[in-house]
């Protein structure tokens, strides 16, 4: 009993017939081949699967593809524009905000929404904003730095 879904993912309209039990994350990874979004747990704790759904950071392992029907979705693959990295991506690179990189796409997407809400966050606000994303490699030190880096760059661009 498959169901038809239509989504806009990274600006491209997608239409597929999917099993109702298919999680959004597997729709992205296995149906669309967007493997940048990762799965790190089965209890909605790790945040490796974070994507933007209508601009909101959501854990794509926790909603079904059919629930996302009609939605606009951005994944890590859709973040760079015209071959130019998003300031969060450069921030993570410059500040060594990743090691194994497995948590990174989810971290970046969560940070995206954080900076949307709070353009100039304090260290505490960054840490709080990333509370739903786990990293086992970095101790978060350079992730905080990366987000601060991106915030600075984004503010500079706005002021220009």
């Amino acid at each position: 009993m498959n169901r038809q879904v239509t989504l806009r993912v990274n600006g491209v309209t997608q239409q597929h017939s999917v099993e109702p039990r298919l999680l959004l994350v597997y729709y992205l990874r296995e149906v669309l081949g967007l493997t940048g979004t990762h799965v790190g747990c089965d209890t909605s704790q790790c945040g490796a699967c974070t994507v933007l759904l209508e601009g909101q950071a959501v854990k794509s392992c926790t909603i079904l593809a059919v629930q996302a029907d009609g939605a606009e979705i951005t994944t890590i693959e859709g973040l760079a524009r015209d071959g130019k990295l998003h300031p969060l991506q450069t921030g993570f690179w410059e500040e060594h905000g990743l090691q194994c990189g497995f948590c990174t796409p989810g971290m970046i997407m969560a940070a995206c929404q954080l900076l949307e809400r709070i353009p100039d966050p304090s260290e505490a606000q960054i840490r709080h904003g990333l509370a739903g994303n786990l990293c086992r490699c970095t101790g978060y030190h350079n992730i905080v730095r990366a987000v601060q880096h991106a915030a600075r760059k984004l503010l500079e661009t706005k002021q220009r």
Binding site: L85, I108, Y140
Partner: protein
């Protein structure tokens, strides 16, 4: 001349793919026609397995094949463990259980289906009939004479015993001014790499080639093991560890799932994929630590330690993993820390229990040693009312190096005092102490904790590095190490860039594919830079040797009249007669040079002659809320000495991550089993690892004491943070709780445990209550 690349903060070359979501992890590998594997696992910690029936599972839609223990045993009789000691009890670890299950999560059957969900559904249809038996979960009880045995073929659960002795321990204790004793529990931990394990096995019948993508830290060892287990020649097995999402030791082992995926792939001629669920990861991937340690210290009144007795009871779980028997031997080997303790007795009991096997988890035996000795030193300081920093200073090994320790190690180099002094200075230790006094008067409980740890790395036996300069002068490096977050695509390029005088961007480092890299050991035990980097360096030297020959031919002067600087070979005294490395490389592939064969490449094996011993001092500052028992980590200063540092940026990253895991053990993490052997902290909902909000920014610095034991002078930094952090944090909390008369609490120092200890101390000594009420007066 351009600044040397080694020692520079160069941002990582692996990052562009990882920050754009275009990395390639095992889960991203799905060859056409892939089948999915799922396992049925034991819900019992100990049971007779009377029947396993896969008939219903096979009838489920989409199911292609299934396997059970007896059938698999015909092909592979045990999951491998490569360590052998005299008198080591070595039971077989069946790939799928046969007759008995010995821990919750042990695999009993495997099914393969055309899609992931179908495979999982089918695995739940496997019928089993268990007769539950008493489970043994406490290692000390497991050692008792009448304990239930985990392996009926052995007379008891003592898997191995060793005794290490030096000096005259009994006299030291007889003559001591004070003797301090403590039982310390080093709790079981879950390694918890954010990427779970996974494997894809593909067999190409026409060529006879088996290709295996695995989340392995050591693909070459996996290749050799799989070939041996499956009876294939090694040259018909290719293992690829693509991007791997962290390992921390848990991805060293050869696991049953890798063996099963290969058996299915060989049988079915189709690719077979298995991706571990997090729930399975908690039960089916090796665990770390799990020791009960008894420590006794003999000391003089002035704080000089004269003797140490350590009894280590290591709970190894139900079976031996790849390196398991060796893990706790490092605890004994490093139990005397960086201190000159002449009289030592170390007893090690390794014990089977009905729990998941324990193997290497970040630090692997060394964090346990650091915890024992660093807690013990603090207890001596407390007993004698001395400053813990002073007690450390009094006991540090002062050289000369190499220094033979009572634990049987040969320390390469060290300046323990310098690291301590630097850490104390950065932390403003003296100021902190007066501040602490002031705060206490106001009812605030700050604690300052030190740990002067020692670490052991550069585990052998060797590593391979190859360097090739192509005809255009670009460089390719092959390394047998298999980084999975450590960043050697960058740091090894830095080493090569300096040697061959090329830009870092012109060096491509390849790893992780046994068909690309001819030989290797892998990445674990902080060995990658010291052993793998040294192999790469030596390969560079060979390439340069050959390049000199070619340049000498091109410039028509003897080699000893040539210099090599800024990528150019030039004639001494006639610098305008010169030829670039690129030109030399082009010549190497086009024209013949007398006495030199074509090509410009070389490979080198670096044999690790002996271990190297990084060290450092960490300082943790915590504040404990006596009303709630909550511990807040306020400040963290780490001074580490890993010898020469190739890239401070990535080295700091290693320290940060290590500290986070060490803090996790001190304050939050614990793999808890109930009496019946159920893992009650079996998901991320019950097992807490540090999140961003639990940690502060870390202040890191290095001292540099190169090792003479490899040409880089580098030691290893991957595990240092984890080793240093746990005792530093626990010592800080105990320091904070000293006014309550609390001497020790076992980890993790959760609010509940701390609160209870405060309550009990308040009951036992009502006078101490003054603490909290003083705050009311003060505020």
């Amino acid at each position: 001349m351009a600044a040397p690349a080694v020692g520079s903060r160069i941002k990582r070359r692996e990052d562009p793919r990882l920050i754009t979501g275009t990395g390639n992890y095992v889960e991203d590998v799905t060859p056409a026609g892939t089948l999915y594997m799922a396992l049925a696992r034991s819900p019992h910690a100990h049971a007779r397995l009377r029947r396993v029936n896969v008939k219903d599972a096979l009838q489920h839609p989409g199911v292609v094949a299934a396997l059970t223990g007896p059938e698999v045993r015909q092909i592979v009789d045990s999951v491998p463990c490569v360590v052998d000691f005299p008198d080591l009890k070595k039971p077989k670890w069946p790939v799928l259980a046969v007759d008995r299950v010995r821990y919750v999560g042990e695999a009993v059957a495997a099914v393969v289906a055309t899609d992931r969900a179908m495979a999982v559904d089918a695995a739940s249809l496997v019928q089993t009939d268990y007769l539950p038996l008493t489970a043994v979960t406490d290692p000390e009880r497991a050692l008792r004479p009448r304990s239930t045995r985990v392996h009926a073929e052995f007379k008891d659960n003592q898997a191995w015993y060793s005794l290490t002795e030096a000096g005259d321990v009994d006299s030291a204790f007889r003559e001591a001014h004070v003797v301090v004793k403590q039982r310390l529990v080093n709790q079981r931990l879950i390694p918890l790499a954010m990427e779970t394990r996974g494997v894809v096995a593909q067999y190409h019948a026409a060529s006879g080639l088996l290709t295996v993508w695995s989340t392995s830290q050591n693909p070459h060892q996996l290749k050799s093991q799989l070939a041996a287990l499956l009876g294939l020649p090694e040259n018909q097995v290719r293992v690829i560890a693509p991007d791997v999402g962290g390992g921390f030791g848990s991805k060293i082992d050869v696991y049953c799932e890798e063996i099963l995926a290969c058996i299915f792939a060989l049988r079915l001629g189709r690719p077979v994929k298995w991706i571990e669920e997090r729930r399975e990861n908690f039960q089916g991937t090796i665990h770390g630590r799990d020791q009960v340690d008894y420590v006794e210290v003999a000391a003089q009144r002035d704080g000089v330690i004269t003797g140490l007795k350590v009894k280590v009871i290591a709970d190894v779980g139900a079976y031996w993993g790849f390196f398991s028997p060796a893990i706790a031997t490092s605890t004994i080997g490093l139990a005397t820390g960086c201190y000159a303790i002449p009289n030592f007795r170390g007893e090690l009991y390794e014990v089977f229990t009905n729990k998941t096997p324990v193997d290497a988890y970040r630090g692997a035996g060394r964090p346990e040693a650091a915890y024992i000795i660093e807690r013990a030193v603090d207890l001596v300081a407390l007993e004698l009312a001395l400053d813990p920093a002073e007690v450390r200073r009094k006991n540090f090994i002062g050289g000369p190096f190499p220094y033979a320790t009572a634990g049987g190690m040969s320390f390469d180099s060290g300046n323990y005092r310098a690291a301590l002094d630097k850490a104390l200075q950065s932390a403003g230790y003296q100021r902190r102490r007066s501040e602490q006094k002031r705060l206490r008067q106001r009812g605030r409980y700050q604690g300052i904790g030190l740990s002067s740890y020692i670490e052991l790395c550069a585990i052998g036996p060797w590593e391979m590095g190859a360097v090739r300069v192509d005809a255009a002068g670009k460089v390719t490096v092959l390394t047998g190490t298999s980084p999975h977050g450590q960043g050697e695509e960058t740091t090894f390029a830095q080493i090569v860039a300096d040697q061959l005088q090329v830009a870092v961007e012109e060096v491509a480092v390849q790893h992780g594919d046994t068909a690309v890299v001819p030989a290797g050991i892998g990445t674990y035990g902080s060995r990658t830079t010291a052993v793998g980097g040294s192999a790469v360096l030596n390969a560079c030297l060979l390439v340069k040797e050959k390049a000199f020959k070619i340049a000498s031919h091109l410039l028509q002067v003897p080699e000893d009249r040539l210099t090599f600087a800024q990528g150019t070979f030039a004639v001494k005294d006639a610098p305008d007669r010169a030829v670039t490395l690129a030109k030399v490389a082009a010549q190497a592939y086009t024209g013949s040079v007398p006495g030199a064969e074509m090509g410009l490449e070389a490979s080198a094996y670096f044999e690790a002659p002996n271990l190297v011993f990084p060290f450092g001092t960490h300082v943790a500052v915590v504040e404990v809320d006596p009303e709630t028992g909550e511990v807040k980590l306020v400040r963290y200063v780490a001074v580490d000495d890993a010898g020469n540092i190739i890239n401070p940026l990535t080295a700091e990253g290693q320290v940060h991550g290590g500290i986070a895991q060490g803090v996790g053990q001190a304050l939050m993490e614990a793999a808890v089993y109930d009496e019946s052997g159920q893992l009650v902290t079996g998901t991320l909902m019950d097992y807490a690892i540090p999140a961003a909000e639990d940690l502060p920014l870390f202040e890191t610095a290095f001292t540099v004491t190169p090792t003479p034991r490899n040409p880089l002078g580098a030691k290893g930094i991957g595990e240092a943070g984890t080793i240093g952090a746990t005792p530093a944090v626990v010592n800080a909390v105990m320091d904070a709780l000293a006014p309550f008369g609390i001497r020790h609490i076992d980890m993790p120092l959760s609010p509940e445990r701390v609160w209870r200890a405060i309550q009990e101390s308040a009951k036992a000594r009502p006078a101490r209550r003054r603490g909290p009420s003083a705050r009311r007066r003060g505020s």
